[in-house]
Symmetry: C2
Subunit: 611 residues, 2 copies
Amino acid sequence: MNKPTGKLDAGTVPTGERPGSRKVYQAGVLWPDIRVPFREVAVHPSAQEPALTLYDPSGPYTDPTVVIDIEKGLSKTREPWVVSRGDVEIVETPREVKPEDNGFAKGEHLAPQFTAPRRVYRAKAGANVTQLEYARRGVITPEMEYVAIRENLRRKEADPFIRDGEDFGASIPDFCTPEFVRDEIARGRAIIPANINHTELEPMIIGRNFLVKINANIGNSAVLSHVSDEVDKMVWSIRCGADTVMDLSTGRNIHNIRDWIIRNSSVPIGTVPIYQALEKVNGVAEDLNWEVFRDTLIEQAEQGVDYFTIHAGVRLAYVPLTARRVTGIVSRGGSIMAKWCLAHHKENFLYEHFEDICEIMKAYDVSFSLGDGLRPGCIADANDAAQFGELETLGELTQIAWKHNVQVMIEGPGHVPMHKIKANMDKQLEVCGEAPFYTLGPLTTDVAPGYDHITSAIGAAMIGWFGTAMLCYVTPKEHLGLPNREDVKVGVMTYKLAAHAADLAKGHPTARAWDDAISRARFEFRWEDQFNLGIDPETAREYHDESLPKEAFKTAHFCSMCGPKFCSMKISQDIRDAARAQNDVDTGMDEMARKFRETGGEILVPLTPAE
Amino acid sequence: MNKPTGKLDAGTVPTGERPGSRKVYQAGVLWPDIRVPFREVAVHPSAQEPALTLYDPSGPYTDPTVVIDIEKGLSKTREPWVVSRGDVEIVETPREVKPEDNGFAKGEHLAPQFTAPRRVYRAKAGANVTQLEYARRGVITPEMEYVAIRENLRRKEADPFIRDGEDFGASIPDFCTPEFVRDEIARGRAIIPANINHTELEPMIIGRNFLVKINANIGNSAVLSHVSDEVDKMVWSIRCGADTVMDLSTGRNIHNIRDWIIRNSSVPIGTVPIYQALEKVNGVAEDLNWEVFRDTLIEQAEQGVDYFTIHAGVRLAYVPLTARRVTGIVSRGGSIMAKWCLAHHKENFLYEHFEDICEIMKAYDVSFSLGDGLRPGCIADANDAAQFGELETLGELTQIAWKHNVQVMIEGPGHVPMHKIKANMDKQLEVCGEAPFYTLGPLTTDVAPGYDHITSAIGAAMIGWFGTAMLCYVTPKEHLGLPNREDVKVGVMTYKLAAHAADLAKGHPTARAWDDAISRARFEFRWEDQFNLGIDPETAREYHDESLPKEAFKTAHFCSMCGPKFCSMKISQDIRDAARAQNDVDTGMDEMARKFRETGGEILVPLTPAE
């Protein structure tokens, strides 16, 4: 087993643009200083089409003009936005790092501290600094304009687009304006997780009426993982396409590792504070109490964590409902709180102190991710009374958070067979007032350890389509071990494609352009374009080169699957050319079709597009 | 590039039982000589539960008592069944192998012939030897009893089972009887692809009211692949779980490679005869004609191919409808026929000769797989007029095949976004009279080359749930290259899990037992059982061992994800134990719940299971 290293190896953090991509920025209008990043993929001149703009959560790491120094952390772009609002103050004596914050690690076992200086902020007495507070006051913040620009992918309001999805009652606008963002946040239907102490952040939005987002989990455990591994995994995750990252570290060095991650992260960082609180009481769940939990929340809020998973819905009364389940309670946080409840035969102290927690959240703008501690851990336990009972409590807590103008999203399952997925979405929308849903998968069968990124991508794509705002990834190692870098990549790519499949099916106005661009490249044998436009250019190229490694084949009008004589794409192009030669495509082909109809071919009547 | 080798290396064919599995057989009642194979997975004695029976398409290769010699081929178990029906005759002068059958390959380029002697059969003059013919005459064949036993997975009729799926109007019985099988075949709702010349076959059934099946494609191409590679890939595919295998070879040596594959295959083999016919006319689509195609059908029928993909639905009039598509025609067979139609400006000769084809099919019991030559090759082209026009023609051809008592299934797409998938299934059921649907994916987005096993598994699981009977796998190399052995494994495993997710969601009576068994093993930290019960025991074990390699950890009550202190499963078991100690689980927990309800906890009222 590995011990924490005493030094971070900056060489492991991947930098540079993705293959075939260029980092570009778009400035704000209301806030001209904001620079919203995109990934632009130019195609071969023969295509005679403009470059494609893709959503880019990879941060400054893919900007060749930025010098990365993880010892210093990323540039604090958001700091002036936060300060200029005039409602925050510098914390003169921030909470000091205590030995228990790092699990009492000492000497060579203690991970190095992040030492570059920074200011710690909190709301002035009586102030509420959440995006929800501003939104309800009618204020459009730089964060709001930033995400509005980001969601449009450089489309202009008048640009045409194809929209034929089924959105199940969502309200996705044709064009995303800053005012729409503000309104969605004000309604509680979307959140911008953005702690005032995470000024390195590039804001992003989570909500049903925006692009579906994905989260990657990283984190050491008591058993495995280095400090540098975790920073590297975070950078690697966002390079692959993760929109937020959760640091689920347990064991020693939790505090110090988290510092390194946040200071180097351009995406929101989420945590489960109960994990660290439990370390502080030496892993004895019964010894947890409000004071140690409160101290942990402040510790992490001052560090800049953007959202907290809080398992306040694991009420004492629900615990017995899990006793006859096949897999009991599978959420770590859920099981910790259940054990506490049973040991004391008392109501969950997170539930009891929920308003106190809200007071802390609003002083830093930490968003709630209300944890589903009783989510099903297997198909047999899906949609049971424990799960849905807890969900109703999360709905009740959502209303309390909203009363305090604190941003909220709701965590969801888990393991759910396909026919029971939609009920989860419908019930969440109903009982949680359309607060964003954030689900783990769900896995649609239990039988495939080693392939749970796929069992869950099926459920994730479906629930994303139905309305889930963010999908928490699952890696191939789920149920088996801690993911390595390759597993993280596979997990993120898998969820990226599931999220995009959901955007397509919902009819998001920006979605189709990507599929159409890569399909045109495929049809025209623009191999380089096909690689570069793919979600994972390196892997696509590598797979192609395994069969046809020579450079000459990059321009070949066939691939190794069929070889030159059998290529359907080639024949299909010949057909099109033949039709062109015979006449103009637009008239000639129609003419042929007309003739056929006249001779009785009624099947040519265009069919109604199916839903 | 590789040349065909002069020798097959038997050492490459994987044999032996899967880890933790035992090969078992169940005899017939109506036909006591039949022996239906299953894979039995015993669990640790501490579980106090019986071994789990899994469906087993892996053939004699996983029977340790069988000596495999691929030079001789598998045992011809079905030959007496076929002969005893009294309606077949030995073909005294079978069609001789011609130079063009192997693409005029000579000398060292010519793959070796399969030389072990065998008899070639065909129906006696005027006889029809299809399972559909027998079914409609009220005859229950050994093949029918075989698949009935196979579908029940050793469940007994009175055994309890959990069934809470949504089957969209399917008619899955609680228990599968031979008479039910006969009736479904007679209605055309299911097929048993079983050429009378493929006597090495272990029969299997394809239909909406049976377990969802998967197909793996193999085949050399003009560019790549050995003879031995293809036999190995076939064995490897069925070992991983493929229910049928399509040999899509193109280029040279098609005939000889196919011989090796069929003689060694215990699963149905499908082909696309137009590929070989095109080779016979030197790859010039315009030179194709009925005579060369007919000759190819007889050649392959005598070899024992179980189902033919026939692109008879690519009618001349539909071709112009593809001209403005983003990716035109992407089916190889479809594009070949389209080119032929346009070149001659004549109706597709497969359509014109469809009844002649039926005459050949019924003399050998080759099943139709009516090809969707105009399937969409990208999201933009999904559910368009060309695709649905062809589907209507396939419905018309289904009726003609049924008139001849020839078995039929219908091929389906392709690339389809999630919101347009169900319309495909609904339309297929409507226009093709509930003939089994056999789809390729569908891929739910175009943007993920390298991950198309996943983009398509999403669509495959969904359409399988909606009613598709067999799912054609897609490997990670789709759009990029020819799959190698690892790609074939990943493709098959991915589709196996998608098919099972569909069975679960449909509420197939055998489905839940598998999930529940592995979930109990997971909850009880029976690591070995969890590996062995998984779809891919080797991969699960390998992933686990990457983090915790020591043997001691195989009995550890935690895994590397959370470590010992944080393990939710462990805590959850403690909760259960605590509840047991306090009182008996069945009464104590109920008592606690009752008390809570009495104090106003109405959320404990069991919720109606959602659909």
